[in-house]
Symmetry: C2
Subunit: 336 residues, 2 copies
DNA sequence: CTGTTAGCGCATTCAA
DNA sequence: TTGAATGCGCTAACAG
């Protein structure tokens, strides 16, 4: 029932090859016949079949995107960066949630490869051998966004988490704090999470401060875990006077735990977060936080992928975007 | 270079039709030959080409999803519901951001149709004639999520915004308030937005309360607009004693405006929001709000779409999901 | 239960 | 500048 390139050819009194040429903007077509064909296309309401085109040309102008959870404040921001750049380069994206489950991740990679995507963008904390094995069966480029494989074999876009955590901790140290707690990442995030812990440790060490085990708790990046962590800190004989959380949600949870206990942020306890999601500006006091440019990470990762898909030259397959600290009211303006 | 169904057929010593049968789980294959074929598939690392399959079968097991902004707290939650159900029914989704721009929306519909999606899920406040015209050129089913066309011609999944707004307003009325402000929706949302305003008006009217023009301001659903709106209310000679905002972000902005002015929520001013995004639980006081089941709207819309795609019977093409009010601390527990 | 044969709608040589 | 012919990899009758 749908009108095909044949119908247009007949209607315009030319061959299908000619129709194909005008549809694809091939310049080798006489303006008059081009006009004829355009008219026929218009008249028939012809809509090119991208699947047929994909089969013939071996390009689908579609890329696969594997994301842990699109409803996450963090990843949805990343996804927007990805999609914007994809659109800019005429690609569509097939989006899949993985929930970071290995099995599902591997299955999604295969499904997307079956669908003949021109490239793959992968997000997820932990890159195992299994991932690498599956990736290696792909004949299209793959880029990691907001994560890296242990040996940095694959192209990736991240920030320097070690340095970012170091800077955050140092900020607190400079304010005179001796007991700085950390609400850390879950073990399921062995790379970025560990790096942040190392940065925290190093900053303490460089300042000659001891590392107190009881001042480090693992969270799961969500609000409630930050709230819980802070509550337990508050029950310590000697509670911390400052807290560094590895996500903004956890940091906000910590703030509320402090407030619920009748104390004040930043007067009694200073808090610094991580990511700079929009939530950071939607609390009182507004959150001081390490800026991880989520949108840019997504955008740059997608741009990198387009380069690979077009066989363009890329200087460095591992890119680290700059980070900084956005100072708001959950930390004090002057040093103690 | 990639291995095709032919290669597998040769390797297994059968015809390609047989390979196709085992790949597609057709029961009409002798167990022994099935085993042979499976082994060949394994040995060669065969991966079926979904594009070729799509061309031959006229099914892509892919649906197009047009969403205003995936980084929005509201829509990303919807998207998750959509994707989960899509996965459950073996579909993948091509996700596209429209920013609610008419031109882009129409272009996206066409692109997705070119890609031969098996169905289309559309989100966006305003459905114009242009949309309907473009939809009518599609030969695949289309479902609207979290919106409706003016004449309800298309299948859609929403809540009853009129009633929800009525309920929210009435809740405030029951607490004895006489001056209830509304931070309303933008004019770009003529359907759901208007319905909420009508619900507010009706509730006031039914209670014999006058509608004060100065107590109604339009917002754009974002935090800052709620904050600004509340600030201007606060400068009124006679400020409101309660506020109903048509989004949680705006409601939280309103709370902060109240707090920044040295007043207290709910003691001085009660606030009720709309949507019940996760933010509602990440503020102090936690937000009382109208629950719009975003995830379910997405899930039900996708389920509805699968029914159409499978030519299953559907009882009612316009579905309204139930809403309710979640009471938290931005409203008082007892009546005044 | 299995093989043969046609397309699916298009891009892309190759000739003309 | 144009047309004819071929094949992309697979599904789906149909025949056996």
């Amino acid at each position: 029932m749908p009108v095909t390139i044949y119908d247009v050819a007949r209607e315009a009194g030319v061959s299908m090859a000619t129709v194909s040429r005008v549809v694809n903007g091939n310049p080798n077509v006489k303006p008059t016949t081009r006009k004829k064909v355009m008219a026929a296309i218009e008249r028939l309401g012809y809509r090119p079949n991208a699947v047929a085109r994909g089969l013939a040309s071996k390009k689908t102008t579609t890329v696969g995107v594997i994301i842990p959870d699109i409803s996450s404040l963090f990843y949805s921001e990343l996804a927007r960066g990805i999609e914007d750049i994809a659109t800019m380069y005429k690609y569509n994206i097939i989006l899949c949630n993985s929930d970071q489950r290995l099995e599902k991740e591997l299955q999604l990679i295969n499904t997307l490869l079956e669908k003949q995507v021109d490239g793959l963008l992968f997000m997820g904390a932990d890159i195992k051998e299994d991932h690498l094995d599956t990736f290696s069966t792909a004949s299209v480029p793959i880029v990691l966004a907001a994560t890296r494989d242990p040996d940095s074999l694959l192209p990736s876009v991240t920030i320097n988490h070690f340095q970012a955590a170091y800077d955050a901790t140092q900020t607190l140290i400079e304010r005179g704090h001796k007991r700085i707690a950390m609400i850390a990442s879950p073990p399921s995030d062995p790379l970025a999470g560990l790096l942040r812990f190392e940065g925290y440790k190093q900053a303490l060490h460089d300042a000659g401060l001891p590392l107190h085990d009881e001042l480090v708790t693992g969270g799961n990046y969500f609000y409630q875990s930050g709230l819980n962590a802070m509550n337990s800190f508050l029950q310590l004989a000697e509670p911390p006077t400052a807290v560094f959380a590895t996500s903004d949600e956890m940091a906000v949870g910590a703030i509320h735990a402090v407030q619920d206990a009748g104390l004040r942020v930043p007067d009694d306890i200073e808090v610094i977060g991580y990511d700079n999601i929009r939530l950071a500006e939607m609390v009182r006091p507004r959150l001081t936080t390490v800026v991880q440019p989520m949108y840019d990470i997504g955008a740059v990762a997608m741009r990198l992928l387009t380069k690979y898909m077009n066989n363009e030259h890329v200087d460095d397959h591992v890119v680290q975007l700059p980070h900084r600290i956005e100072f708001r009211e959950s930390t004090r303006t002057e040093n103690v």
